[in-house]
């Protein structure tokens, strides 16, 4: 575990140094919150929202979006290590390749979780969140959901990164797979008033349960309009464990002379 921790620390340090990566995952979600939230709240006055305020409603969605961005960016570290030969050097150390992958993915989970919680922290003072369980328990609940979500996304990203040869291809697949999922996850509008076929798709979407859990934890004043934690937590927890195990299952093996 010491080796995995040393590797995770190294990746965390790299992200802190790479300011663009540090901020870019958070900037777009915050801008969406600012402009889309304000624009729709004032221009459309949505009446179907459980707690009435669209900007506050968007907070859960942008927290999830931040994690999606972050998991995509974190995979750049895998490709950088592979392309610079660092991965090859790591794989001739006495550790099992799974330890190397574990260290790198733990860093991705930590970074994604910190960025998502930072977005929540930045948004909370300026939006009318319900905090039905109070601030402390709400934040703890949100933290648990965010960590599980990042385990899910990190595992998925790792599984794809070891299978897709180029970083461009990886980003394309991540964008194609994850961004449509964001649109019908309840991040931007409630899923309960959608046409039946789209609501069905939303219920098959793992991000729906993360968004719902975050809505329950920080946005809602009561849980009656949502799926509820008793559904969200088992689903997101199971999917996170499965995806993370999948991410660790396939070992990288760059060839001796290069990739």
């Amino acid at each position: 575990m010491g080796a995995a921790a040393a590797l995770a620390l190294r990746d965390l340090r790299a992200v802190v140094r790479s300011r663009s990566q540090l901020y870019s995952s958070m900037l777009t979600p915050l801008l969406i919150l600012l402009f889309l939230g304000t624009g729709v709240s004032h221009g459309l006055q949505p009446s179907n929202l459980p707690a009435g305020n669209f900007t506050a409603y968007l907070v859960a969605g942008v927290v999830v979006m931040t994690s999606v961005f972050s998991s995509t960016f974190s995979s750049a570290s895998y490709y950088r290590d592979r392309d610079t030969g660092m991965l090859r050097a790591l794989l001739v150390t006495p550790h099992h390749p799974r330890v190397i992958v574990l260290g790198k993915s733990l860093a991705g989970v930590a970074i994604g979780s910190l960025q998502a919680m930072a977005v929540l922290g930045l948004a909370a003072p300026f939006t009318e969140l319900g905090w039905q369980y109070g601030y402390a328990r709400g934040v703890l609940l949100a933290l648990g959901v965010v960590v599980a979500l990042n385990l899910l996304l990190g595992g998925l990203a790792q599984a794809l990164a070891t299978r897709i040869q180029t970083m461009q291809g990886f980003h394309l697949v991540m964008n194609l797979a994850l961004f449509p999922l964001l649109f019908f996850s309840g991040a931007f509008f409630p899923i309960r008033d959608l046409p039946l076929w789209l609501e069905g798709l939303a219920l098959a979407n793992p991000l729906t349960y993360a968004v719902d859990a975050l809505h329950v934890a920080v946005y809602a004043r009561d849980s009656s309009e949502f799926l509820g934690l008793w559904i969200d937590v088992p689903v997101i927890g199971t999917l996170a464990a499965a995806a993370y195990a999948l991410g660790l299952a396939r070992m990288p093996r760059p060839t001796w002379s290069g990739r």
Binding site: T84, A89, T93, P94, S257
Partner: protein
């Protein structure tokens, strides 16, 4: 009964290894004594790097027997082996000190010990002043020295180097090999691959000629040169005929005669007698003459034949 320590650091017998349908090693047999500085010499694609990768990554061959430090390959043995691969393998965004401390931790050193060894090695490789600079600001030679320091950090019993000085200048090469020789002097076995025969001649204590996935000959440089004459005359010769070459072979002072296009290499014990006879044979079709003492390169060409030189990238 106390078991005797193995005298061979690496032993391969009839090793076979394939990449898909392509057989990279085809009956590779080699014995590397402990404490030696052993070079694998051969053209690109001859199997040198594949063999080193089996040793470094502790992979079992598909056929034959491989023993590293007296044992069959297994992951735990990597702790006793240091590796510098052919391609650079450093994260350009890290600093030299960070790299060494990280790998010290990965090789099981405590944080304090990793830091202490990192500082000691950075001084030894002349990078103490650049310890906190990002690696992408270092020259190629500095990076190679850093990789050597990383490979030596855990005080390995076996150091595996795959064409370690490719792309660095003469001064940096000398600095690199000094580090390696110092490690060998402390008891580390060094196994390296190169296709630079001049460098190998200067560095090797033992060498093996590798081609087509097999070892063609192995021994000390003087053993490999045995049977060759003391000098080699390299003649630029436009369109030599078979009859002319046969006439050269019949001269009493002539050893091996190897033709490689318009270049003819003739080994001899006395070039001052041979060269006038060559001019008498070919006249103005001789465009250049170089005379040098017989080297490992001459031994290499005598063993593997003359046509590999330009075709397969041996220099």
């Amino acid at each position: 009964m106390h078991e005797a320590a193995p005298v061979l650091a690496v032993e391969a017998r009839g090793v076979v290894f394939s990449y898909g349908a392509r057989r990279a090693l085809d009956g590779f047999t080699l014995a590397v004594p402990k404490g030696s500085l052993f070079g694998l010499l051969g053209p690109n694609g001859s199997g040198k790097s594949t063999f080193l990768s089996l040793v470094a990554e502790m992979r079992a061959p598909s056929e034959g027997a491989l023993r590293v430090l007296g044992e069959a390959p297994r992951a735990a043995l990597r702790r006793r082996v240091g590796v510098v691969s052919q391609e650079s393998s450093l994260d350009p965004l890290m600093t030299p000190r960070e790299v060494l401390v990280l790998f010290g931790r990965l090789y099981g050193l405590s944080r304090d010990e990793a830091r202490a060894r990192a500082d000691r090695l950075l001084t030894a490789v002349g990078l103490a002043g650049r310890a906190a600079d990002r690696i992408d600001t270092l020259s190629g030679g500095m990076r190679r020295r850093l990789e050597a320091a990383r490979a030596l950090l855990h005080e390995p019993e076996l150091l595996v180097l795959d064409e370690p000085t490719t792309g660095i200048d003469a001064a940096e090469r000398e600095a690199f090999w000094k580090l390696v020789r110092d490690a060998r002097d402390r008891g580390t076995t060094v196994l390296f691959a190169t296709n630079d025969l001049a460098e190998a001649d200067a560095v090797c204590e033992l060498a093996a000629f590798v081609r087509d996935g097999r070892v063609l000959a192995a021994g000390t440089p003087s053993e490999l040169k045995r049977g060759l004459r003391s000098e080699t005359v390299v003649v630029g010769w436009a369109d030599p005929t078979d009859g002319e070459l046969e006439a050269v072979r019949r001269l009493p002072e002539t050893g091996d005669v190897v033709q490689d296009g318009d270049t003819v290499r003739v080994s001899t014990d006395d070039a001052s007698i041979l060269v006038p006879k060559l001019f008498a044979l070919a006249g103005r079709r001789i465009t250049s003459v170089q005379i040098h003492p017989t080297t490992l390169a001459d031994a290499y060409f005598a063993h593997v034949g003359g046509r590999v030189r330009e075709r397969e990238g041996v220099i």
